[in-house]
Symmetry: C2
Subunit: 367 residues, 2 copies
DNA sequence: GTGAGGGGTGGGAGCGCTCCCAAGGATGCG
DNA sequence: CGCATCCTTGGGAGCGCTCCCACCCCTCAC
């Protein structure tokens, strides 16, 4: 039985076909109008037409109008490749995500950062180009693409510590601003970067718990090869060293930012038998796992044990009890990322080359 | 108190700064090596160097090696703008998402489609460029970007019916393949397209319910200006017309694909007082809402009322009872999208210009 | 030995654009 | 009226690359 809403034209189930990349060279007939043709139609020279179409300095009113009319009539579209060739820049920048697409689309972090980048770029005339770089092959191709003058600069979202991409791009002459902190010997120190104050945020969270009378504050730390994981643990350590004198190593459990690892981390901490009256989880997802474990052990939050998270994920205000957590101004970070790259492209010498954005936190029910 | 993990160099909280777009023209000192320089270093001519670097036909072994060595030593990166200018193509294609970034990152559909596109393109040497086109200003800029020879073709993800983008791109000479169905008078019929067999999938779902002895099969339909919403309702109508003779209009409620609208749709259907023994929801999200409503009314699924969804969202197998639902081969659609665009770029006359991909379904507990 | 054939090479032409400079035309002031 | 000044214009140069064609030289057949 044929479906009536199947359309009438040449439609069928697709069959695989030879996929060789042999596109036509010099696409034959579709010669699009060039600036030369516009100029001819308007009765002026190339130079005048170019000036008329780019701001119109030193162009008479009459010439201006003639060129604009001719361009509209011919449906003229400037060849940006030619423009790039002579200008030496393409007026587009890349937003490169050096992560698996799995995380890309599931982690709201990317959505919010992209939104910030996007909003800062709106109306600037600069084209934003999103690109994934998930493996070495793709990274090489990206470097070729960017170095080939397709991108004037790159915003790189990269949170895993040893990422060869910033260095490779800088070596190819592409200015990079990284979201995250590309420190360490194996990474480029030339790249500029923006990061949330993960350390300070974590410290403030612990200090808040202390101010509420908590003393035995454990932590479920995140992945240590990510700056977010490392720095948040640093923040906890700093606050605890001050509060407890020495560092209570037995109050640390390690997770990987996932909910399951939060569950396991809490179980591990409780199993050690040491008194605990608060748990700081290095991500909200892990905090969800911690809450789950505490509930199942019959412990009350926050009466028996206070819980804090980090991120303010969607959903954090709806869990039981609503999660007190550290918030990063992700949109703002995206905007700063763009501003820094534009400064770098303009060659502003006095600009800040790295920015740490302060975090805040929302107090809800869990602490 | 200063955070010890704050780095040592020039770091501070960012302050807004003038954002005018006045990048440096003709970036001064950083003259990168050109093909001419590579040729000179290798002791051959431009032409020979070019041939050596592009497949090496009619190049002696000696010249080949000399050029490769020179290129490596100088760190030569071909200027892709110059290449694009002479070839008339850029060897990159766009994946344009004509949706809000809200949905972009929350709807797993995009992640899976992107994965399919990505995997099909791997190793082809073609650069994939993701772009958002959320408003008219961005759409115009995208057309300029693509028509300016930055993109050889565009894969457009667009499910809202009157989308001016495919037509605008085709008018500018850019081949487009749409994910979705750009039918209707206001839309381009020139664009090629790929769509899931929404109509057939819905019909099969209803036929399955009929085969299980259900007779009064209601539906909560989706947004009607999206082909997915329209076609899925068509499929339900076709099956019901055959089964019931006439079309039971009072078994239709309308939603917008969201969970809340599924809840309201189910309530509306039940409130009409007509006997119902199954509900086909046009999305899993709406099916979740339907299940919720039925539970609250104390109705048993599937004993009292069977429920089917459409999409196979992550989470559909974990709801109560696990959802029986129609699945679209989204990855495969992404792959087909790429293959079709490459065919179109190659100018293959005999290629299919539209493809409807058959759906399947998974039987779980709800029907 | 001579001519045909083919692999290998060099360099001119040209892609479409922007920049620059010389030259023309209009205008103003002494 | 003459000359300096400014606005406007045209067209050459050149961005870095690929294509094309003429040319060279080596090989092989007759």
């Amino acid at each position: 039985m044929l479906c009536s809403c199947t359309n009438r034209d040449n439609t069928s189930v697709f069959e695989g076909r030879d996929n060789a990349v042999t596109m036509q060279r010099r696409t034959g007939g579709d010669h699009r109008p060039t600036l030369e043709m516009v100029a001819a139609a308007a009765g002026v020279s190339r130079g005048t037409a170019s000036r008329a179409l780019n701001g119109g300095v030193n162009v008479s009113r009459k010439a201006m109008e003639a060129v604009e009319r001719a361009a509209a009539e011919l449906g003229y579209r400037p060849n940006l490749a030619a423009r790039t060739l002579v200008l030496g820049r393409s007026e587009s920048i890349g937003l490169v995500i050096s992560e698996t697409d799995e995380r890309l689309f599931s982690d709201p972090y990317f959505a919010r950062l992209t939104r910030g980048v996007h909003s800062e770029l709106a109306g600037s005339g600069i084209q934003l180009v999103l690109t994934l770089a998930q493996n070495d092959q793709e990274r090489r191709q990206l470097v070729r693409f960017a170095a080939g003058r397709h991108l004037d600069g790159v915003l790189l979202i990269s949170h895993h510590r040893p990422d060869p991409l910033p260095l490779a791009l800088e070596d190819a002459g592409i200015p990079v601003v990284v979201a995250g902190r590309p420190n360490g010997p194996e990474c480029s120190t030339r790249s500029w970067w923006v990061d949330a104050d993960n350390c300070g945020g974590a410290r403030q969270a612990v200090e808040y718990l202390i101010s509420k009378g908590r003393r035995n504050i454990a932590t479920v730390a995140g992945t240590q090869d990510m700056s977010a994981g490392f720095d948040r643990l640093q923040g906890w350590k700093e606050a605890m060293r001050v509060a407890a004198g020495a560092l209570p190593e037995d109050l640390i459990a390690f997770g990987d930012f996932s909910e399951g690892s939060g569950r396991r981390g809490a179980e591990e901490l409780l199993a050690r038998g040491r008194p605990i009256d608060a748990i700081f989880a290095a991500s909200d997802l892990m905090a969800f796992g911690v809450l789950d474990t505490l509930h199942r052990r019959g412990l009350k939050v926050p009466e028996d044990i206070a819980v804090m998270g980090f991120d303010d994920m969607p959903g954090s205000e709806r869990c039981d009890p609503p999660l007190t957590t550290v918030v990063q101004p992700i949109d703002e970070m995206g905007r700063i990322l763009v501003r820094m790259l534009l400064q770098r492209l303009r060659g502003e010498e006095d600009a800040e080359t790295s920015v740490i954005v302060p975090t805040g936190f929302v107090v809800r029910g869990s602490a």
